[in-house]
Subunit: 200 residues, 2 copies
């Protein structure tokens, strides 16, 4: 029996450092695989189809929506972004654990369509530190930052919808915590190979 892979969803507010955690995780764990999203936005120089994204036409994307072939999707301005069900299911069926980095709306969509998905919410150590990070980044106005902070507070009222919550204080520690979560989830009874236990 091949163990069904785990779908590990890394989510959290922007500025929490979920991207850095994913990079650290993938660098240390070559057996993990990153989910590749579909998008209708044009290819940028240096991007490779099937690596950075699956680049598809608007029509193809809308067909995927109507045929329920996406775990989640969102429209950002004129472009669609989504997680192709096929890609993820194929990896999981061969026992590969798949990492997916996504905002919280997408994460909750996934949890609805695939409840076995393990939803990890990454938070910065404190709200004031998040404010500081976003301000330093310099890409958002003060108003937009305040909106984001309010958003984080709202998201934290629903922590019971996430399976785990990782505080990203020191990146290496946060990566280690996510590794512990993955190791623990691999020990769920559903993954136990009873046939192997009885035969050998």
């Amino acid at each position: 029996m091949t163990r069904q892979g785990l779908l590990i969803v890394i989510s959290g507010p922007s500025g929490a450092g979920k991207g850095t955690i994913c990079q650290g995780l993938l660098k240390k764990n070559k057996d993990l695989c990153l989910s590749v999203s579909c998008t209708t936005r044009p290819v940028r120089p240096g991007e490779v189809d099937g690596v950075n994204y699956f680049f598809v036409s608007k029509e193809a994307f809308e067909k995927m929506i109507s045929e329920n072939e996406l775990l989640e999707y969102a429209r950002v301005y004129d472009n669609y972004y989504g997680t192709p069900l096929n890609f993820v299911e194929e990896k999981l069926s061969t026992g590969q654990d798949v990492i997916l980095e996504i905002d919280i709306q997408g994460a909750l969509q996934i949890k609805q369509k695939y409840p076995k998905g393990v939803l990890i919410f990454v938070v910065p150590p404190s709200l004031s530190l998040l404010q500081e990070r976003l301000t330093k980044r310099g890409t958002d106005s003060a108003e937009s930052i305040n909106k984001r902070l309010q958003c984080v507070c709202d998201e934290l009222k629903n922590t019971q919808r996430y399976d785990y919550l990782v505080v990203n204080d020191i990146v290496d520690n946060a990566v280690a915590q996510v590794e512990s979560i993955i190791n623990a989830e691999r020990c769920r009874p559903a993954n136990f190979d009873i046939k192997k236990f009885l035969d050998c």
Copy 2:
């Protein structure tokens, strides 16, 4: 806010190595605390009350039963053995994680009384290896060993009642898996200190 400690219940068939795993765990993690059981059996030379067991009279034990002061208990021949609720609750309330090593009947009693308890079932790598270990130990008759093996097979039909299943192939790996489980459970949203996040 002091985080409520975790009650980690290490269970499994005899010969699975749950005792060795607990020892390894406690040696490496000084912040973990081992639950001390109550018993009515006489003190043996070298044993210390409150360390090896809480030694109580039969009357005192039966009073604990009737007043619902035990997380679980069992009668073995003429003596009672049980897990005192008070001791465990006191440790948990100060944020200490408590380890409890117990057979599967006791573990399921605990899970009923304290559903938040994390139930880890330790199994040997295979049934034939368990048979070999029990035979080598030389304390059981062939008939008794066969009974035990049948028992393990029955227990494994109910794996969904356990939170985690750890295969004890190499002890150090099994200890590391239990450590991962404890780390992961510490990341449950219920343990998140929202006040700390908002204040500092």
